[in-house]
Symmetry: C4
Amino acid sequence: MDEKDTNRLEAFSDGVFAVAITLLVLDIKLPYADSSGKLLGNSELWQAIFEQWPMLLAFVTSFFTIGIMWLNHHRIFKHIKHSDTSLVFLNIILLMLIVFIPVPTALLVEYITHPELNTAALLYSGTFFAMALCFNLLWRYASYKGRLLGQQVDMDGVNKISRQYLFGPLVYIIALAIAWINTPASLIFNLLLAIFFALPDTPMKPGKKDQDPQLPMSESV
Amino acid sequence: MDEKDTNRLEAFSDGVFAVAITLLVLDIKLPYADSSGKLLGNSELWQAIFEQWPMLLAFVTSFFTIGIMWLNHHRIFKHIKHSDTSLVFLNIILLMLIVFIPVPTALLVEYITHPELNTAALLYSGTFFAMALCFNLLWRYASYKGRLLGQQVDMDGVNKISRQYLFGPLVYIIALAIAWINTPASLIFNLLLAIFFALPDTPMKPGKKDQDPQLPMSESV
Amino acid sequence: MDEKDTNRLEAFSDGVFAVAITLLVLDIKLPYADSSGKLLGNSELWQAIFEQWPMLLAFVTSFFTIGIMWLNHHRIFKHIKHSDTSLVFLNIILLMLIVFIPVPTALLVEYITHPELNTAALLYSGTFFAMALCFNLLWRYASYKGRLLGQQVDMDGVNKISRQYLFGPLVYIIALAIAWINTPASLIFNLLLAIFFALPDTPMKPGKKDQDPQLPMSESV
Amino acid sequence: MDEKDTNRLEAFSDGVFAVAITLLVLDIKLPYADSSGKLLGNSELWQAIFEQWPMLLAFVTSFFTIGIMWLNHHRIFKHIKHSDTSLVFLNIILLMLIVFIPVPTALLVEYITHPELNTAALLYSGTFFAMALCFNLLWRYASYKGRLLGQQVDMDGVNKISRQYLFGPLVYIIALAIAWINTPASLIFNLLLAIFFALPDTPMKPGKKDQDPQLPMSESV
């Protein structure tokens, strides 16, 4: 196997993903007192927590999305063996978009109950669309003529990613269109998208089990 | 030994555990001035710090719990050698619960001196119960028919974990029941639980020393 | 190849870079309500976001700068194989400057629209200048007579870095001079500097492709 | 060389150290407006920054101390090859004290200009003293009869650490005594202590260079 030159790049990226996904919790503040400062009773507190559903739904959606973006990063860097300045440059832009996610998330929480105002939802879905584009750019750059893939390329895996990445930006354009029309629907669509990409037996690993039923599914992630 | 495919998954998880456990400190604010803005004197400051015992006790309990959850994650991933999309999906849900811990912790701090209101304690213990369930699910999925364990399985270690994991959710159901009755008692029960799981010579590694007194106890963690 | 003694030093530094670059987002707060607490409409929100351009420009500049500083750290530690207490000491000072960046960044955001007041811009560019000096010191210390470089030194790579590092502090002195005269210009100059250092085919890796067109460009980062 | 079982324990600890050291910056807030909200002019801003010297001095001291504590952790885990539950337990307590440092740091900043009130300084130095004790406990536990050190022990290195660790808590008792008398003096003493432990050619690596002048100083950190 080729020696990998991207270990520290992956370690640094893992760190940024880990911090970004964890910072999402800083925006969750559950209420515990009414406007006069009196502690909420049991039923009032349950009700107050349930009223925070936009915050909790946005947290779950953004958390899953960053998690799946990490998975995608992991998937493509299994094939990328070498690094150059352009790759680091594209990776920094990608990480900047990941780190930015809490900002449109916080905005979306405020606007989710006002579906007639779609700016926040557009910004939220737009950030995800930009990320999908950036992943594409990074992958096309690294895989073009096998530029950074090393000597022993798993062509099957590489081609599979290249095919999938044709569709990634497309689904996020659909998310953008839904955001134009309806804010809560676009949030739920983004959540379903993240869950869909994370589910096993999606087009992400077609035929793997059929071909090699005995083998552990180590290549599938 | 099988090659491990889970290195980056573990590195990412370690990062999330590390950030989540450290962010707990952001909720500790010691007072230094009275309501008129005058700096507290020596004895007033000591008293003000001691009055923050709910905050400090909750910090210690949540810190130990996340630490022990990391240890559990480490223990089961010593046996898990391969990864697939379902495992990553379950791991993201588990990390989401870990990251969420500061939220019920902050709520508990407000309610600990009002034991007649048990909502916060239920949410706190409920989060831990959900984590225990999630650990079980992840472990059952990975170890079912040795699915993701690799060729050379340490069956003793695997069976030990499987047996222990029958009891994990049970003790957290007890914690939930205590939370229903008495908030401070449930916090202390959770702390004792974390310390118990961390102590050496618990059922976590029965007979290890007796079997191999010369060998370093490398398998015990 | 020499065994590396600097693995944990690099892992710790990667962690600090990753947290510092991610914390930059905590200073981005987009407005969503007017002074009377009323939610902003679509066009008002777009306008309010665009009015935050100093915040967003400063975020992008500091993010790229920390990213490129990480790249520099990575580049020089590819050659540094051993560690001693002085190296750790210099590395801590360097990390302290990295961690400090959000402070002058936040100050710059407030002063960018008041170009007649240059203190914030001087502090911002001054922090970068101190970082460039610190990188130089660390590199000169480690590479002096090959002190910490191990047995098999890539002399070409080492000499290239040493030549480049003559110019690093110089360009940041120019940035400092521009900060004296014009705040927004110095911010943009710093951003261009980061992009310039990140771009491929800069003097950072002269002649690499010409010498070895077949080889992957693994040494260039 | 023995295989190491402590890799993930070190990775997790590195993460906690990296986050804790970086979070220190969250307590640095430079002023930019006077009480009426007017932006400070050049000379006013410089003056306002210089007036924040307690905050900046405390930041530098705590940053160096956490950095040196990381170095100590790194040093002792170079010898510790195996892990058990007690070691993880002691390590969690140690990390809890590291994570706690921003709390007494923030308190100290408020009290540094009131040297007649020594509670904050005692809490600050007391935290460091507890850390020194905890390092001792962890090291004594791991090195007792070579319990967790593996087969090929570097006895010279082990004995050196054991000797040094007799003095560690002692110097922090002195720091505690100085804190009783004078707050700013104890802060500066703590800073000097960190710098002293970080300086090369301290008793930390006696005679290394004399014995093996050709060898890289890889063992010294």
